[in-house]
Assembly symmetry: C2
Homo-oligomer: 420 residues x 2
């Protein structure tokens, strides 16, 4: 986590309400804690909440979305979840189930975050790959969506289109134009849109902005805004708080069929409720201090410090990778990762095959053994046949990150020499 | 929750480590908090843990089981979960998946806790009912297991036997003899045993004791203890803490095939980790104060007060229900519920049918409308054809519970008159 002080304070007050009398906590932290506790059973984080989540927290999420998009959000459409992963799994479970002769197809980007492939495999759905355009900053190309859906229809029934924006592991931030095209495509093909927007606060490139699918959809006129089904996900685990241990998340659903909504509530109620402490963390994230509140200045300073630091490290990482012969790295426009392409010499590919390993796995294992740096091979996320990548987070402190990057650079040059 | 002070204190210290310097917290609470935080990434509840759970907490769970059973437990066999529901769902998912010509059958008690029927329906498994013996205090009868498995084999492949002990909603506590019989049966039929033991601390009848399946299995000799596969579940949500909002739980697996174990870890890692605050709550539950520690006296007092109060309410509820003509209630040996049988007059059954409702649902809705008392109809848990029940918790404070019981009594007598 990034130690945003207000979060720590409100969580402390909610966990130990005796502190509400302590003069060492700011008034706005107390106000937030009181509001949360009053909405909790027994005024405690230790009681079950409603399966959909604590009412006032869902209201705060709706108000947050309304402010973000300038388009109203309805608390009834908000579901608090156990991190975003839980929400994504739950909605996919509902969308994939239900008869039909052919199996349900779910379109996912390649490279993807492996939650998607894992859940689709669990659910017995067909994974329909669409490839992001590496030569174009990992942009999503609607022509590629058309190709993927056309080929998929020969063996399954494509029903869902998953988008990760900003991208994980690829870090691209989608343009408004691209999002409009995707929505139009989803409408034409009657696909349910699943927008994984957990990195919405993590945008670093000066020429990029986050546009939510909800906002763009709402502004495309009633033909789209009243018909395209959408679920969007957010999380306390990323952004400038990074409070992943609390497992807080929400999803907003738009145009969900009432019958499906009934099924969703039923499915959620089987698991009783998301962790109430995670729900409280979500409330702090969507309800940040405003000018005039005691915590405002410090909060703003902390938020800007975390985000500008990440932006600095994003640039640093891109620049350094692109100085290395045989490594090519797209700009890290958003999210928290670099996903550079590595050119592996044919002899290295042969050596990997001799070890019965994927070539990028062979590379990453050698990197780990020789430098202590642990990165994830691209084959874990999917990549175009014959290309190789790895994913690295930019979370280490700047000086440490510099050391890490230098080690990768030295290793890579030595590796090229070894297998030349 | 039941407000056990040590839990609140340790959770506060873990959430807000500044308090570790405060003189108003007992030393043993600080010691516990430090131990937990040192094992957490970034010394914080806000970071991801390992998918299986924080190491030192799994060690404390293993030590707890070892003390409870007098039989060693291995931390490697402990998985921390998001409440017990999550653990039960996950293990069932693994056991039910995987080919075979006929569908997997899972044996569950009737009446059951509806998590089971819901998850089996989600997973497309066959629910194989075995009936608990209402005339014999809801005991589990191995002859009935034999009947159920014999009939099930005609249309599915029974692989799992679920046991809830102490029972929910039925409140029975199984004898050691019964557990031995069940284990022998599972061994003969090669069934995976799933022991839902979340009410293990909630035993009230003086002539009953909780025996864990793990302990009994371990003491039956190597033929059983090395072969019968078992998963046992526990939770922070019940017992004398009742900290359900934190979603803490664990499962212990015994004799799990290494390949299945690999699958389990993979499946868990997709969801990243259980909430770390719930893991911390679990640590406090399995690591209570010992004589000599500062919190010992107060903790003991609180624990005994919660449990003796529940025992008193269990007896009160049983006694009052059995004074009402047409209600018959088995002893509430354990757990937190009464599940009385109600005799409904034929005219009431007809009236329910005219309303297109199950007769017990009709009864419960009328009870709610006329008295404000909300109970759950037996049909939600399953019951023998033609019998009717409802489930009521014994959680309200004694005086309130008395009022509730009196209202149910008055309503029932009036209901019998109305439909005589």
């Amino acid at each position: 986590m990034f130690l945003v002080w207000l979060l720590v304070q409100v969580m402390a007050l909610c966990t130990y309400p005796n502190l509400l009398d302590s003069p060492s906590f700011p008034e706005d932290a107390k106000k937030r804690a009181r509001r949360i506790l009053q909405a909790c059973g027994g005024n405690s984080l230790g009681s079950y909440s409603a399966s959909q989540g604590v009412n006032c927290i869902r209201e705060d999420v709706a108000a947050y979305i309304t402010r973000r998009d300038g388009v109203p959000a309805d608390p009834d459409n908000i579901y608090l979840t156990t991190g975003a992963s839980d929400g994504i799994t739950t909605i996919l479970k509902i969308l994939v189930s239900g008869g039909g002769k052919s199996r349900t197809g779910v379109m996912i980007p390649i490279p993807q975050y492996p939650l998607y492939s894992a859940v689709l495999s669990e659910l017995g759905a067909v994974q329909v790959n669409y490839y992001l355009d590496e030569d174009n900053c990992w942009a999503l190309n609607v022509q590629e969506l058309r190709r993927a859906v056309r080929e998929a229809k020969e063996h399954c029934d494509p029903k869902v289109l998953c988008i990760i924006n900003p991208g994980n592991p690829t870090g691209q931030v989608q343009s408004r134009k691209c999002i409009e095209d995707v929505i139009r495509f989803a409408w034409e093909e009657k696909l349910f849109l699943l927008a994984d927007e957990v990195y919405q606060d993590n945008v670093y490139s000066a020429d990029c902005r986050f546009h939510s699918f909800k906002k763009v959809l709402s502004e495309m006129g009633p033909e789209f805004s009243s018909n395209v089904e959408l679920a969007s996900f957010h999380s306390t685990s990323k952004g400038y708080m990074g409070e992943c241990g609390y497992r807080g998340g929400y999803m907003e659903v738009i145009n969900l069929h009432p019958e499906i909504k009934g099924q969703l509530v039923k499915l959620l109620s089987v698991r009783l409720c998301p962790p109430v402490s995670g729900q409280a963390a979500m409330d702090i994230m969507v309800n940040p201090p405003v000018p005039g509140e005691e915590s405002f200045e410090q909060f703003l300073k902390e938020k800007e410090s975390v985000l500008s630091n990440l932006a600095k490290k994003a640039k640093l990482t891109e620049d350094l990778f692109n100085q290395v012969p045989g490594i090519r790295c797209n700009p890290l426009q958003g999210a928290m990762y670099a996903f550079p392409r590595i050119v592996l010499p044919p002899r290295a590919v042969e050596a990997a095959q001799a070890h019965n390993m994927a070539p990028d796995m062979f590379y990453c294992m050698k990197l780990l053994e020789e430098t202590g740096v642990c990165v994830v091979p691209g084959s874990g996320f999917g990549q175009r046949e014959g290309t190789y990548h790895f994913r690295m987070t930019i979370l280490p402190p700047v000086e440490k990150l510099k050391t890490v990057l230098q080690r990768v650079k030295d290793f890579h040059i030595q590796f090229l020499g070894e297998f030349a």
